[in-house]
């Protein structure tokens, strides 16, 4: 090997390493922090949302989506924000405490006060994640309200295991990409492939079962479906005590579809809010 070829090899190796590292590098977005006031199930769950901003597809990309639609053979649009291109994860931290004076004095701070002496030493919480794809939106609170009843029935799109915290303690957790992938399939099934057959109802079959274990409610979903990703993330907290929630949304954007160039325009989908059968 000549000296020059060694140098070229070195330069290529360095460039390739740098280029590969930039592929699939995640981006993080801080969601608005929020407080659960601890007023119980009679009040709506505390929640906070973050809508990811995507660019409009170019003409070439639109044509490619149309061609893909024809090739796949089912008569539905191919999502621009699709699960195979956009991967979402939420990292959160929940703290069981009362707001400080400084937090209450802040313009967007909590408006309630509490006395730690009157709170239980330990309290539990459940974090619920839902949101919207470009076609459908799922609101766990709205579904519970729609189902009615004396005791609200919460059917989360992406559930988490309840946790217990001592006063002053925190819990950090992750709603993983796998959880979102399952929730995204369920959301599209509810929004575009809803099967009312009582033998295999999409609602609430898909919400209660993991699709890879029990595909109940997915009868109408084509096997080659391009699943739309969740672009609007809502984080909700069920808790009977005051708790503070911080969270970040992590996005892996394979095809550079997030909006970050001023020359591009914002993609503005209009998802339809899912309503449980009782309201239909």
């Amino acid at each position: 090997m000549t000296k020059h070829s060694r140098l070229i090899l070195l330069a290529l190796a360095g460039t390739t390493a740098l280029a590969c590292s930039e592929l699939n590098a995640p981006l993080y977005f801080q969601g608005p922090t929020f407080w659960a006031t601890g007023s119980g199930d009679d009040e709506p769950m505390a929640n906070s949302g973050l809508a990811l901003r995507f660019r409009n597809p170019t003409m070439t990309e639109r044509m490619r989506l149309d061609m893909q639609r024809e090739a796949l053979g089912y008569d539905m649009d191919i999502p621009w924000i699709s699960r195979d291109k956009v991967h979402v994860q939420v990292s959160y931290k929940v703290t069981y405490r009362c707001p400080t004076e400084a937090e209450r004095a802040a313009p967007d701070g909590p408006t309630f006060d509490c006395d730690p002496g009157n709170l239980p030493g330990e309290a539990s919480f459940t974090l619920i994640t839902d949101g919207a794809s470009e076609y459908a939106k799922y609101d766990t609170q709205a579904v519970a309200d729609g189902l009615g009843g004396d005791d609200p029935i919460f059917l989360p799109l992406i559930p988490s295991v309840p946790k217990t915290l001592a006063y002053g303690a925190s819990y950090s957790g992750i709603v993983r990409e796998d959880d979102f992938a399952e929730g995204e399939l369920d959301l599209d099934a509810l929004g575009r492939w809803n099967d009312a057959d009582p033998v295999s109802p999409t609602f609430a079959g898909v919400l209660i079962n993991r699709s890879d274990v029990n595909p109940i409610g997915l009868n109408l979903v084509p096997p080659n479906l391009v699943v739309p990703a969740i672009y609007e993330v809502n984080v909700r907290l069920r808790s009977g005590t005051p708790m503070h929630v911080e969270y970040y949304v992590r996005v892996r954007d394979d095809d550079d579809r997030l909006l970050h160039n001023d020359a591009d325009t914002l993609y503005q989908p209009s998802p339809t809010l899912f309503q449980p059968p009782a309201l239909m």
Binding site: F29, S91, S170, Y247, Y248
Partner: protein, 195 residues
């Protein structure tokens, strides 16, 4: 007849004598003058540790890097340095446990003092540091993913009896202008090949 001739030659030869005319000069072995110099490359591995605000959020990480340089004189060289390191975020934050990479590229000058097979050097330079994600931006610690960096360090080098190869240990401290109140310490072992 042949035996007589051979014997006469042996017996008739005069004994040889060596004559020392001056003190022998001290021999330096190995001779540093014979070490290759000029264009060189280095491959290195080690660690990168952050200090300041970034140090609270990013753990120490494994680093791999390379240098390409040229010895203008025996004691002075210029070099380009690329280093990539991988880290995990830490602390009591929602983003703890995430992986991220940091890439640093600098142009440097290097001064060397050689003592036979050993040499000691100091170096310094400036360049850019780039984060693989916007995590520090999201945490409010960085304005941009790519920022200015400058700093320097020192090290020691041991040259093998081979004309081309040496190994060494170096440490460098770099200021990260666009990461709030932060700097990093790079410590690496390297293998150098001089063409």
């Amino acid at each position: 007849m042949a035996a007589a001739l051979a014997t006469s030659w042996l017996l008739g030869s005069a004994p040889a004598r060596a004559q020392v005319t001056s003190e022998p000069s001290a021999v330096i072995f190995p001779d540093p003058e014979k070490f290759a110099h000029g264009l060189f490359t280095e491959g290195e591995f080690g660690t990168v540790r952050f200090f300041g605000r970034a140090g609270e959020e990013i753990s120490q990480g494994f680093a791999v890097g390379a240098r390409l340089g040229y010895d203008i004189f025996r004691f002075f060289a210029i070099q380009a340095h690329l280093l990539g390191s991988t880290h995990q975020t830490q602390g009591d934050t929602p983003t703890a446990g995430q992986l991220m990479q940091v890439y640093q590229g600098t142009l440097e000058g290097k001064l060397t003092l050689r003592l036979v097979q050993w040499s000691f050097f100091g170096e310094g330079g400036l360049g850019a540091a780039r984060m693989s994600t916007n995590l520090l931006y999201a945490r409010g610690l960085a304005q941009y993913r790519t920022g200015f960096t400058a700093g320097g360090g020192a090290g020691v080098d041991y040259h093998f009896l081979s004309r081309h190869f040496s190994i060494g240990l170096r440490g460098g401290y770099y200021w990260l202008k666009h990461v709030t109140g932060s700097s990093d310490l790079i410590t690496t072992l390297y293998l150098r090949y001089t063409f």
